[in-house]
Structures are given as C-alpha cells and as structure tokens.
C-alpha cells in the first residue's frame, strides 16, 4: 500500500542558507538556518506567508529549533552555544524571547534540544554526552543532569506525557531516561553509527531513532525492546517526526529524500525527492481541516509543503 503526497507549495529562499531545523505549532511553522534569523510561517494560509521574523537572534546561525506540543513555547539553539526560549502571545501570535541559557562559550555544551509538552522543561545534550534538563519557568535552572558514557549527544526528545527523555549519540548509543526517577531506563542497542534523530510517538509508547546507519529503529519504550527495523534510506538520516495519530513516521536524509513510513505495516509508503540537496529537517503539520501535511527543508534553503492526495 502506498500513499500519495502532492507538493502543495514551496517557499523558495526562505533562508539564504541551509535550513537546519523546523518546528511546528497548530498554526505556524518555524524555521531556523545557518543565518542568524528565525522565520515564522503561517500554515493556515495557502501561501504559507512569513508572519514574523526573529532577526539576528543567533549571530553564528541556529542549528536546532523545537516547540512544545502545546504550541506555546519554542526553544532555539545557536552555533555560538546559546539557547533561547520563546513564548507566543496567544492573541497577536507573535513570539517573544523569555529566557536564554548560555554555555559559557564551551562549544557543544548545549547542542540538541527538546521541550516538554507544556514547554516548562527543556532537555539539552552536550558534547561530552550529558543530558541536562532545565526549568524554563524557574530562571533556566538546571534541574537534572543525566550522565552517559561521554559520547556527543546529537539528538534528544521528551515524551508528550512528560515521563521520558531519550537521547541519541555519536557512538550509536540510544538512551532512555525516566524523568520521575531521574535514572536511565534503557540503553537501547541496534545502531552502531552516529544517531542523529530520536523521536517519541505521540502516545509515548514507541521511540524512533536513526542516523548514519541508514536504518530507522523503533523501540518499545517500556520494555526497551527493538520492535521494528525500517531499512530503505540509502543516506544518513537527519530528521524523524511522527504524525499526530502515530500512524506514520516521516524521515529525511542526506540524499534529499523524504520518506513516509507506515507503523502498522512497517513499510515505506511514500518517497519524495524533489531536491538533491540535503534534507536537514522534516516535520508534520498538525492536522487541521485540510488533509495531512508535512514540510521538508534543508540545503536548498527552501521549505516545501506536501499534502496527502485526496482519495488515497
């Protein structure tokens, strides 16, 4: 069974350089790139117009951006080693900086980031493999520090139910932490090369991880068992995102290919390769009245929006 997705719109030159990160709220898509600026696009309008530009906010460029599941908070991480936390004004839909963490110029102290469902907690990885959790409402205080074996943390995610944090590392390790106890729950085997993306399913039951191994591994969060292996990418995988129902997983890789995977059948149901430039980031857009949509971005500096073809 395959699914059909149509290119809905492409924002050419959304950024002057590589777009490293995308983050979605129910009504907006935020994009971060090697430039110093974060762009915010309105996803409720057919042309996806830019509604806000956060200019010059990461001087050396921005490599990660994430939003809380409730869509009210955003965090962005810059190449200079700083993380900024943003909050949306519900009426004007404008984002405003509400806090920041600076890593004291120790490059790589703050790298990948993830926000909890309500935006209160921010998880970050470090160059030496630590996973730190910060309280964004208590003056950016560090409230937890998970130690791992010292391999660069390249990816991190927090489960929607708030119970788990997962990290992916340069040496292929994937770790699962219990936020209640502050302990490591599982060290997940299976990937031996750098893990560049980890993502919890919306029900917090499954964890997907992928990277240079080109295989997407799916783990059961409670048991730590690997429950699926999704081969098919021929290049490094940089980004993973679950659809809001948890039925589909979206992935994007170095060869510019985006794939949609069915979790039920554990097969690739769609492959899109409109560009030969790297895809650094792929994101589903929250399901609205329109059909299921996703956005991809990367080395081309443009953002392409796809929509599920009706009738399939």
């Amino acid at each position: 069974m395959s699914k059909q997705y149509l290119t809905l719109h492409t924002l050419d030159a959304a950024h002057p350089t590589d777009i490293f990160g995308l983050a979605a709220t129910p009504t907006q898509l935020l994009s971060a790139s090697g430039s110093s600026t974060i762009q915010i696009h309105d996803t409720t309008s057919p042309e996806f117009p830019t509604v806000q530009t956060l200019k010059g906010v990461h001087k050396l460029g921005c490599h990660h951006i994430c939003t809380s599941a409730d869509g009210k908070s955003t965090a962005s991480a810059g190449f200079g080693g700083e993380v900024k936390v943003w909050s949306i004004n519900e009426e004007s839909k404008e984002w405003k900086e509400v806090g920041s963490i600076v890593d004291n110029s120790k490059a790589g102290e703050l790298w990948a980031i993830a926000l909890s469902e309500d935006g209160r907690y921010l998880a970050s990885t470090s160059y030496d493999g630590r996973i730190n959790v910060w309280d964004t409402q208590a003056g950016m205080e560090k409230i937890r520090e998970y130690e791992t074996k010292g391999s660069f943390g390249m990816a991190v995610d927090m489960s929607v139910d708030g119970r788990f944090t997962a990290s992916g590392h340069e040496n292929g390790s994937v770790y699962l932490f219990n936020n209640d106890t502050g302990r490591m729950l599982h060290s997940l085997p299976g990937l031996v090369k750098p893990v560049r993306a980890v993502a919890f399913s919306p029900a917090s039951k499954l964890l997907a991880a992928a990277g240079d191994s080109r295989i997407i591994a799916i783990y059961d969060v409670s048991s730590g068992e690997q429950v699926a292996n999704l081969p098919g990418h021929v290049a490094w995988v940089f980004s993973l995102d679950w659809s809001f129902s948890g039925e589909y997983l979206l992935s994007g890789g170095y060869d510019g290919k985006a794939k949609v995977w069915s979790i039920d059948t554990r097969t690739c149901v769609a492959t899109h390769s409109e560009t030969d430039k790297i895809l650094w980031a792929v994101r589903w857009l929250p399901k609205t009245s329109r059909a299921e949509m996703f956005a991809v971005a990367g080395g081309a500096g443009s953002i392409s929006f796809y929509r599920e073809a009706s009738g399939s």
Binding site: L60, G61, A107, M154, A235, W236, Y254, D255
Partner: protein, 486 residues
C-alpha cells in the same frame, strides 16, 4: 659564587608566597621540557661561570640542566651579538646587580630587588626604520641598565596584538585587520609572579637577539617552543610597528615548492622547480630575482608536507612538471612561503606579468580552513603585515563537506573523523570571525564550518585517496580538466 651559596640563599629567602609556588613550578616545568641540545637555560648552580659568547654558552649549558631541580633555573641571555650575557634568575638569588662575566654590563639580576618606583619605557611610538629601531633598543637597554643601578623595577611596554574577538576584515582589500589599536602590555621584572619574570626574560632576550640574524631560531628552545618565539617576535615587531624583517628576525625556510618554474637568482644561478621531486625549500625571494612561471597553468597550495611529497612522487609529477606549481607551507605557512605565493599571485616584472590561478587544498577541519584563510586573507596574529602577504585571489579547491560525505557509498566512513572538543571550540571561534559573518562577501566558510559542526565530522586530505581514483584523479579533474572551481 658557588652553588652551595645559591642553594642556601634560595632556602633562606623564599620570595614567592606559597600560593605562587605552584605556578612557579608550572613555569619551570614548561621550561625544562626540552629535548634540544641548544638549550640556553641553566641551573643556578652552574650558570654563574657563564660564557662570554652565546655560542659557547649554548654548547656548554645543556649538560647542566638535566639533573637540577626546576626551582633553580636561570635564563641565560646574551646581550649582544658579540660577547655579553646576562643571567636572569627566575627565583631568588643572592644580591643586587652584580658583575659577572667578562663585560661589565653583564648582570645577575636579583629577583628580590625591591621596587622603589615604576620605571616605564614607552616603545610604541617608534619609527619603522632599522636605525631607529636599533637606537630605540639601545636606549631601552641603557634605561634598563640605569634602572638596575638604581634598584628600580624594570619595565618594558609591549604592544600585545589583540585577541581574535577584536579583529576584522578589510573587505575591499581582502585582508584581515585589527580594528583597534594594540593593547599595551607592561612586562616587569621583578614581576608580580614568576610568569611575569619569565616573560620579561623572553622579551629582553628577543630584543637583544634582533641584532643577530638567525639567532632566535637556534635559541628557540628557551621559549618552550617556536610558537612562543613567534608570538614574542610578532609582539615586538608590532610594538615597533615594523615588519619582522626590519628586526632581522626571520625563521629558516620551511615551505616547499616544486613544478615547472624557474627562479633566476641574483648571482645568476637558476633554480629549476623540476630539479628535485622532494621539493625545494622556499626562501625569501629578493625583489631583483626573476620567477619564470610562463608554463604554469595552476598553482596548488597543499596544507601538508606528507601530501605534497606523495603527490610529487606519484604520477602526478608528470602533470606538475609540465603545467603546474605546487607549494606546501607545512601547516600554517611561514612568512617566506606567503611572500613567495604573493609574489606569484600578482603580475609584475618579477614574474614577467604572468600569473596563474591559485588553489588551496587543505584538510576539512577548523585548522585546514584557518590555514587557507591565512594564505588568502592573512593571519590575525600578523595583521600588521597582512597587506603585503595576503593572496585574495586564492581559491578553495577542497577538502569540502561535499567531498567527505558521500550519499550512498559504503566506503564513506573510511577517513571520516569526529570533531574533538578543541575542534568544536576552534570552529565556533572561527564562525565568530568577521570573515564568517552572514553578510561577508564570500561566504563558503560560514556554511562549511556549520556543516562541520552539524555533522560533527572532519577529514584529512588523504580521505580523497579512499575515493575512486584517489587524490590524483580528483586533482586531475579539478585542476587539469576544468581548471578548478572556486
């Protein structure tokens, strides 16, 4: 003076507070970390019978240091090219300035000299002529001599070149500049801590040595390593606002060159670039010397000697000897190498108004990029000389991120390395340079450094060997077939 005497005094008069002892030990640990036999550092116990000529001192002293403990080190400094030495003990010693050695201007400087008042010499407003510099240096020594006889603290003002954050880029001229004037650093003896005493010694030594043509290099062991020498030489040059050459301080030739070129030397001899596949040392090119590069279609600058040599010994040599010129600066290039490349890059009577495109082949890592930028735009540390050494037309051949990460090659992991913490730190600092700014005119650097950081990978030039056809084929396609791409 006997060694017993010194040791006794040392124990009786510990001048350093306990808290400083550790840094003292550190400083000396650095000091004693030598292997070179030309060491000009000697323990107190044997230094006082020092020699009247630097050469003799250098050959005499090495045996002495190995067995002594670090607390008893002296730095031996020769005051002129002829016969004078001064011993600066780092640490307490007996009495006040005392004559020793043959000349009466040889002193034993006592670290316990009490400071009555500061005595500063302003070196920053100096005219850049050789005589002026010499005169100024002489007057500095006169003042130091006077200070010594009056028990005053010795101070040298040194214009320290700025740290990287305050530096800029002259976009029009394509060279790095310093935005602000130099910070003036005061180096005193005796100082607040042993490091300062050590620095004073170094600075003094550097000043003295300027009268020797190539002494500094041979004495470089005193300075722990060459980078320290270079830093102080550059600081001093910057203080006097003159190029290093006016100070008569140039290092021995480091760079290598090979290819289808000829240099006509002043004495009429001809240097043939094809004469030695091992490469020829790049020495200073005199203005009157002519370089024939009329057959050179491209100039390839390679970061590393190992790659230079392997290319020269491979079949690539036949291409090179017909239409190319290959240079390596063995890492960060010295001034001679940069000056030579600069002379080739600009059409002039010297090269018969012929020039060829210049390409850089560097490692894909922060140092590789830094080396490329050093050739192209100049170095941050030598901003006062960049205008006459930069090669703005130089193009970046590789290695780039697209060369190291292959989409679907199972061999790709070969030769890919992860960044170290230092690499990440350096890459981040480089991103913060103006040359990597968002609106910089030519900006592959910003993206490539970001790629490096985002992918967390680096690779040496040799990674091209793992590609089909190896470096040779890769170069062939870039240089010979297409004359490269920027």
């Amino acid at each position: 003076m006997t060694s017993n005497h010194n040791e006794m005094l040392f124990e009786e008069t510990p001048i350093l507070p306990l808290s400083s002892q550790e840094s003292l030990t550190d400083a000396f640990d650095q000091f004693w970390n030598f292997t070179d036999a030309e060491l000009a550092v000697t323990p107190v116990s044997s230094s006082l019978e020092f020699n009247s000529s630097a050469d003799e001192a250098e050959t005499l002293l090495p045996e002495a240091h190995s067995s002594c403990s670090v607390e008893k080190a002296n730095v031996l400094i020769d005051l002129s090219e002829e016969e004078t030495n001064v011993v600066l003990p780092i640490g307490p010693l007996s009495t006040l300035p005392e004559q020793a050695g043959r000349r009466h201007n040889n002193w034993l400087l006592d670290a316990e000299v009490r400071v009555s008042k500061h005595h500063s010499l302003d070196l920053s407003a100096i005219e850049p002529s050789r005589q002026a510099v010499t005169a100024r240096i002489e007057s500095i020594f006169t003042e130091i001599t006077e200070s010594l006889s009056q028990n005053r603290q010795l101070t040298i003002l040194l214009a320290s070149r700025q740290s990287s954050s305050a530096q800029g880029l002259d976009r029009k001229a394509g060279l790095m500049t310093t935005n602000t004037s130099n910070r003036i650093k005061e180096i005193s003896f005796p100082g607040d801590n042993p490091h300062q005493a050590w620095r004073f010694g170094l600075t003094l030594e550097m000043r003295l040595k300027r009268e020797h043509t190539d002494k500094v290099v041979s004495c470089s062991t005193i300075f722990v390593d060459q980078t320290v020498v270079d830093r102080f030489v550059d600081d001093i040059a910057s203080t006097f606002r003159v190029p290093r050459i006016v100070l008569n301080v140039t290092a021995t030739a480091k760079g290598l060159m090979a290819g289808c070129f000829k240099i006509e030397k002043d004495d009429g001899s001809i240097v043939d670039g094809c004469s030695d596949r091992e490469g020829l040392l790049i020495s200073k090119l005199e203005v009157s010397e002519l370089v024939d590069i009329s057959n050179v279609k491209w100039i390839l600058v390679i970061e590393k000697e190992a790659v230079f040599r392997s290319m020269a010994s491979s079949d690539f040599w036949y291409t090179l000897s017909r239409q190319g010129l290959m240079i390596t600066g063995k890492g960060f290039p010295d001034i001679s190498t940069r000056a030579f490349l600069r002379a080739l890059s600009i059409p002039s009577p010297q090269n018969n108004f012929h020039n060829a495109p210049i390409f850089g082949l560097m490692d894909f890592d922060p140092d590789g990029l830094d080396i490329l930028l050093t050739y192209k735009l100049g170095s941050y540390s030598l901003a006062h000389e960049n205008g006459s050494l930069n090669v703005p037309s130089m193009r970046w051949l590789g290695v780039k991120s697209t060369d190291v990460v292959l989409e679907d090659d199972e061999q790709e992991s070969q030769g890919l390395m992860k960044l170290s913490a230092r690499d990440r730190g350096k890459a981040t600092k480089m991103l913060d340079r103006e040359v990597c700014a968002e609106d910089a005119p030519e900006s592959p650097w910003r993206r490539e450094i970001q790629m490096m950081l985002f992918l967390n990978v680096k690779a040496e030039i040799q990674i091209l060997e793992t590609r089909s056809g190896g470096i040779e084929k890769w170069l062939q396609s870039k240089l010979v077939d297409g004359y490269g791409t920027s």
